[in-house]
């Protein structure tokens, strides 16, 4: 007990980790529902519909199914590495979220003032890249240890792809670092204070160059890094059955699935922080009415859900959707309490931006066909890397231009 009293930060961090883990695992489960639903509507289908109202209980059913499936290990597989691979993939993917700041507001846990981030590391961006760069092993080792042809090919493809696109990903981010002059996420966000034209994608003048090209390079490389359509060759089902996770079943498969979604969330968070002002609001600070926006958004949602419940739902689905409606309305009203209102602003904008990028991800998947492997490599090395390098060069020149004039 004495040890804990001396290190209150440990307790606070543990509480924060527990809360974030709970939230993140729920969000990951519902991301699968979100993706299936959006894809379905893009393809003029209904998507999950029967388990709960609008298929809202589908993730729960899927989770239970994964738990009760038989956990197979192929004969001749390297047992240790075979078990290690999904663990590595999921734990590393979730660890990165510890570095993401969700809001600026200082909150109090056990009387300790603390920020809405688990670890506010001085070189947060580098640490995030360090963790994601080890993430490749999850996929590569899964492919190798399965002792099977298709997984091995999938693992090989994914390691080659991830190495190739990691270069462009890193270079496209350096432009932002030059503008921000810091590796700390909170400082990068604070540098974009003001309205949306101060965000790094648009900001011009005063030693800044709009990072719109950098963002496009980042978005492309990020989709490739997370092995998503149109760059999902490591698991291209027309060629490799299911790629690196062909032999995985039961919860080990679910872990790869969750790792993929966690990586998507991380990449979207990073895009929000680096290019789109993180937890900052897109409106000028003088517009005070914007603090009612989170509550208004939730209440509008609740109103629509209430309408849907009353008109379209029957039987048990009506009760389920009514519960969701009451929850949304309750949280909306909670956001109107003066003590809660300032705390909720940062997380609201952050999550709204991240949700938009997640939608963008799914949208891409519903729209674009898969690349061929040689096209993928040519695109990465011959187009994406040169473009991001030129972006870096131009950004550097624009920043150093005033200084050159002064000395020359």
């Amino acid at each position: 007990m004495e040890f804990i009293a001396q290190h209150p930060i440990l307790v606070v961090s543990l509480v924060k980790i527990a809360v974030l883990l709970l939230l993140v695992l729920t969000v990951l489960a519902y991301l699968s529902w979100f993706e299936r639903k959006v894809i379905a509507h893009i393809q003029s289908r209904w998507g999950p519909y029967y388990v709960g109202a609008h298929g809202l209980l589908q993730p729960l059913a899927d989770g239970l199914k994964f738990l009760f499936k038989e956990d197979l290990t192929p004969p001749g597989a390297d047992r240790f590495v075979y078990v290690l691979a999904p663990l590595l993939a999921l734990s590393l993917a979730i660890t990165t979220l510890a570095l993401i700041p969700f809001g600026p507001a200082t909150i109090h846990i056990l009387g300790q003032p603390t920020q809405l981030v688990i670890a506010n590391v001085d070189i947060g961006l580098l640490f995030l890249f360090a963790i994601t760069s080890i993430g490749v092993y999850g996929v590569a080792l899964a492919g190798w240890s399965s002792n099977s042809k298709y997984p091995l090919l999938g693992g090989l493809r994914s390691s080659a792809q991830m190495i190739s696109y990691e270069v462009s990903l890193t270079v496209s981010v350096v432009g932002v670092l030059l503008v921000a002059g810091s590796l700390n996420f909170n400082e990068i966000i604070e540098g974009q204070r003001g309205a949306f034209w101060h965000w790094n994608v648009f900001r011009a003048g005063h030693g800044a160059f709009p990072q719109i090209i950098g963002f496009l390079c980042y978005a492309t490389a990020a989709i490739a890094e997370t092995n998503r359509v149109p760059f999902d060759l490591p698991e291209g089902e027309t060629e490799l059955v299911a790629g690196f996770h062909t032999e995985y079943s039961s919860f080990k498969f679910a872990m790869f699935f969750m790792a993929e979604y966690a990586n998507m969330v991380t990449v979207c968070c990073l895009a929000t922080i680096l290019f789109f002002g993180g937890w900052l609001s897109p409106f000028p600070e003088s517009w005070t009415w914007q603090q009612y926006l989170p509550a208004a958004a939730l209440l509008v949602c609740a109103a629509y859900l209430a309408y849907d419940t009353a008109v379209n739902m029957r039987g048990i689905a009506r009760i389920q959707l009514a519960v969701v409606t009451v929850l949304a309305a309750g949280i909306g009203v909670l956001c109107l309490i003066p003590a809660v209102m300032p705390v909720i602003q940062g997380p609201f904008w952050f999550l709204a931006k991240v949700a938009f990028f997640l939608f963008f991800y799914v949208w891409t998947r519903g729209t674009l066909p898969r690349f061929r492997y040689d096209q993928l490599m040519a695109f990465g090395w011959k187009l994406l890397l040169p473009v991001s390098l030129v972006n870096l060069l131009v950004t550097g020149l624009v920043i150093i231009w005033p200084q050159l004039g002064r000395h020359g």
């Binding site: 070189i123 580098l126 890249f129 360090a130 590569a140 190798w144 090989l156 590796l183």
Partner: protein, 169 residues
Amino acid sequence: MSVPFILFFVFAGIAVAGAVLLIVAREPIHSALSLILVMVSLAVLYLLLGAEFIAAVQIIVYAGAIMVLFVFVIMLLNAGVEERTDWSKLAKYAGLPLAGFLLIELAYWLARPAAGMTAALHAARGMGAAPTRALSEMLFRDYLFPFEATSILILIAILGALVLAKGDE
């Protein structure tokens, strides 16, 4: 016993265990994995010294890039289990004593606080809260020429490897 003190011994132990496993393991992938373990625990040791930047770069460059290539090549060649030979007589009778001698010598020199080391430690403390900035100022201003010369050297090495790998055409 402070927390960093305990952490140091935990991760130093893991690093040494990883290094031993690297040599003992017969499957090439297991050796590669042990090497990654060594590198990550070394990064933690750097972190304990307050060298955040070096720690992150250690993981990004060694564990994240170089070792991925190692694993990639092992998978591509589908390298089989290593075959064991009888130990060579030379390694047994000359190698082991020499290794012991090297260990003692290293321990002796590391145990002595050399004048240069204390100066370096003082300089490192003086960097304050922004060691990344201090490091980059050293690399890109004070030691710019040797730094750029090294990168050109590496570029030449890459070109050389390319020429050798291509062969006659």
